[in-house]
Structure formats: structure tokens, C-alpha cells
Symmetry: C2
Subunit: 222 residues, 2 copies
């Protein structure tokens, strides 16, 4: 956009009148840049599953909880049933080297095909954790299922898990606990299919009513 760009608008009625795939592409763009990652699970027969989700949300730090939205009827159905069955899953950040493989995991593979195999990503079992991590991912979370919330509005499901293990690159940790996920090459996405790397503008100091903001240092510990 430029200073000459004109503004346009869609009302609710306009949105409901759009062709279905067009509306899906448009509305999925409205929630901003998304937290996108790969969820690794296994079923009762130790068959692995890997699926990309773009709906992660921070739920709490003390204790550490992370959530994501699942659709009961979508390609993520194996992920959901595996989580409810096994109680454990991994959340693996996506980097520039693997984003195409990560996107490919959204294809509708039959249950007896592991998306790890289909996308040439490597299952990695660590510290006795029951679900497989993605070896190629730089930030990996081992998560224990905590709460399932059925959303009345449209039958989507919020799954909340407690973070049990975190693996991360040592040189991305800062003195105050901030983990520099940009330095770890984590990417983001928008809409249903657009992937983006990032460039930091700044870290800002904690906002107070009686002082001006300033830039905060990164302060890597290594």
C-alpha cells in the first residue's frame, strides 16, 4: 500500500455472500500473523502423526500452558484423537529450511501413513517423552494434555496443554528470560498459505504511565 491507497470494506452480509474458498482465504487473513508449528503425536499402535497448526495461543506462564484451536472434522482429526488417547504431544517451531515440508503435512494422508515419512521430517524421541519431536525444528515443546473446551459458537475445540519440556538453542536465550525466536529462525504465517520470516523492529521496555518508552536490550547470555 502507498499513501494513495484507497480503503475498501466488507460488511458481515458481504462476507457471507463470498464464495466459500474466497471467504476462507480472506477471513483467515484477518487474525494477523499467526503462531504456526508442527504437532507430533502417536496413536495407541505407535503410529506417528505430524500436522501443521496455525492457531497457537499463550494461555499462561505460571504454570506454563499453551493452547491451540482444532476443528473436529478437519485434516487435524488424527492429531486430536491421538492427543486425547495418549495425553502427550509435541509442538515444534517451523524454520525457513522446513516450512515447505511443514505445509505439505496438511495434505490428507490416510491414517496408516505417517506425515513424518511423507514429508521427510525426522521423529525424535527424547528423555522418555511419549510423543515424537521434529528433529529439524529448533524450538521443541513436550506438552501434556490438560483441558478440552468445546466452543459452542461453531463446534471448534480449544485444546490446552501444560508444557513439560522445552528444547531451545542456547545462544537465543537472553538474560531476562526472553527467548529470541527470530534468532532461532522461527517463521510465521498469514492466511492459509503465506509464510514469512521476520525482522525485529525493537524490544520495548515495560510500559508505565509516567515515563516514556525506550528500547530494551537483548542481552544474550552466551
Amino acid at each position: 500500500m502507498t499513501s494513495k491507497t484507497t480503503q475498501r470494506n466488507f460488511s458481515f452480509v458481504d462476507l457471507m455472500g463470498l464464495e466459500q474458498r474466497y471467504r476462507a482465504a480472506f477471513v483467515n487473513s484477518l487474525s494477523g500473523f499467526k503462531s504456526v508449528a508442527l504437532i507430533g503425536t502417536t496413536d495407541a499402535k505407535h503410529q506417528t502423526n505430524l500436522a501443521i497448526f496455525n492457531s497457537f495461543v499463550h494461555i499462561g506462564a505460571n504454570p506454563p500452558y499453551i493452547g491451540f484451536i482444532s476443528r473436529p472434522d478437519s485434516v487435524d482429526r488424527h492429531t486430536l484423537s491421538n492427543i486425547l488417547e495418549s495425553g502427550h504431544y509435541t509442538i515444534n517451531h517451523i524454520n525457513e529450511e522446513i516450512y515447505q515440508q511443514a505445509h505439505q503435512s496438511s495434505a490428507r494422508y490416510p491414517k496408516d501413513i505417517s506425515e513424518f515419512d511423507a514429508t521427510h521430517l525426522t521423529p525424535d524421541y527424547k528423555s522418555g517423552f511419549k510423543a515424537p519431536y521434529v528433529k529439524e525444528s529448533h524450538i521443541q515443546l513436550g506438552v501434556q494434555f490438560k483441558e478440552r473446551i468445546d466452543i459452542k459458537t461453531n463446534h471448534t475445540i480449544l485444546i490446552i496443554g501444560q508444557i513439560q519440556q522445552v528444547y531451545f538453542p542456547n545462544d537465543c536465550l537472553c538474560e531476562d528470560g526472553f527467548l529470541d525466536i527470530e534468532k532461532a529462525k522461527t517463521i510465521t504465517c498469514s492466511g492459509l498459505d503465506s509464510y514469512h520470516k521476520t525482522e525485529r523492529l525493537a524490544r520495548l521496555t515495560y510500559a508505565k504511565t509516567d515515563r516514556a518508552l525506550s528500547y530494551a536490550k537483548l542481552g544474550y547470555i552466551e
Copy 2:
């Protein structure tokens, strides 16, 4: 990170043993790049309120729903009570020109001070919608409250709203409905205080099990 970077890990016990602010900074980094935007509301006395949230999540496209996580006891308490009181709110994407003002809105201003005034952002009332948009924002959503979900795990709240109006730059809309929020200069954030602009890697075609991925065109309509 480099190819020589060593991996480190924190267990649940390690995380619980961290100093509180350190743990908040760390765990808030784990959910990836976040959907960050400004929520505009008014109370019954027409006092405006503006607050930054970094927990938006796509809930559905048909009909169009968007959600966000709120803490009952946090600085966002005026936003939550205003939404429940008035039933309407706006969600405004943040761009590079206003991210510092957006961050400043998180300071704990008393209820009789509008964060619009305190941060020098401009309330914009359009098409009879009851809540104020942020004039300096390039993508603006008018949202009607739909469902409140109390999360048992830690008493956070998921607020879901139906999208009633969307304002966007005309030259950012693509033929298939994808809205190029990067072209609209929308930014993202990580952790509690790190802001990032983006650089597109690619749009990818819909993933199928029987064909290789390819790059999708953007195809702006203007």
C-alpha cells in the same frame, strides 16, 4: 544460532523454579510469533478505551469469528468489562508507524483516562458502529461479542466475536480472497515486548498427497 549452537532444555520443574518475571518472558516466547492488535471499546458513559492484545486466534470463516484470550485481573480489565457491557469492539492491526504507541497502551492508566488520548492515537467512528476504530490502523475489524468461555485451567477467558465490518487497503486484496497483511504493513510480536516486521518467503499451493507443492501467485486485483 549457527550450526555450532548447542541445544539446552528446561523441564517443567526447571520452569516452575524460575523467577516469576523471567518465567513470564520465557514462556511467552514459546508460543511463536503472535497475532497482535489493538482493541477499541467504550463504556456506558462513552469513555473510550484502547488496549493491546497479543492472543488473537482465528475461530472460523463461515460465519466469520475471531477470538482472543483475556486475563480477568490484568490491565485489560477495562476492555473485558466494556465488551461485556456494550457488546461491540474493534480489532485494529498494528503497523510499524504505531507499534510504540500500541505498546504504550499497555500501561496501567486509570479508567477515566482514555488510552487513545494518552498514546495520541485517533478514535474513528464509522458506519454507525458503536466502538471506536483506530484511525492510524490499516486493517480494522468491527466485532460483535458472541461467546465468553471461562478456562478452568487457569481462569483466563476466551472471548469470541463475530466480524461485522472489515476495512482494508484495496491494493492488498488478491484474486482468491487472500489479504496481503504484509503489504498492509501489519507487524507481529514475540514474547512480551519484541516487535517484528515480516518478509514473505512464499505463498504455497494447497497441499495434496499426490503432487508436489509449488509457489502460489499473489495476484492483486488492483
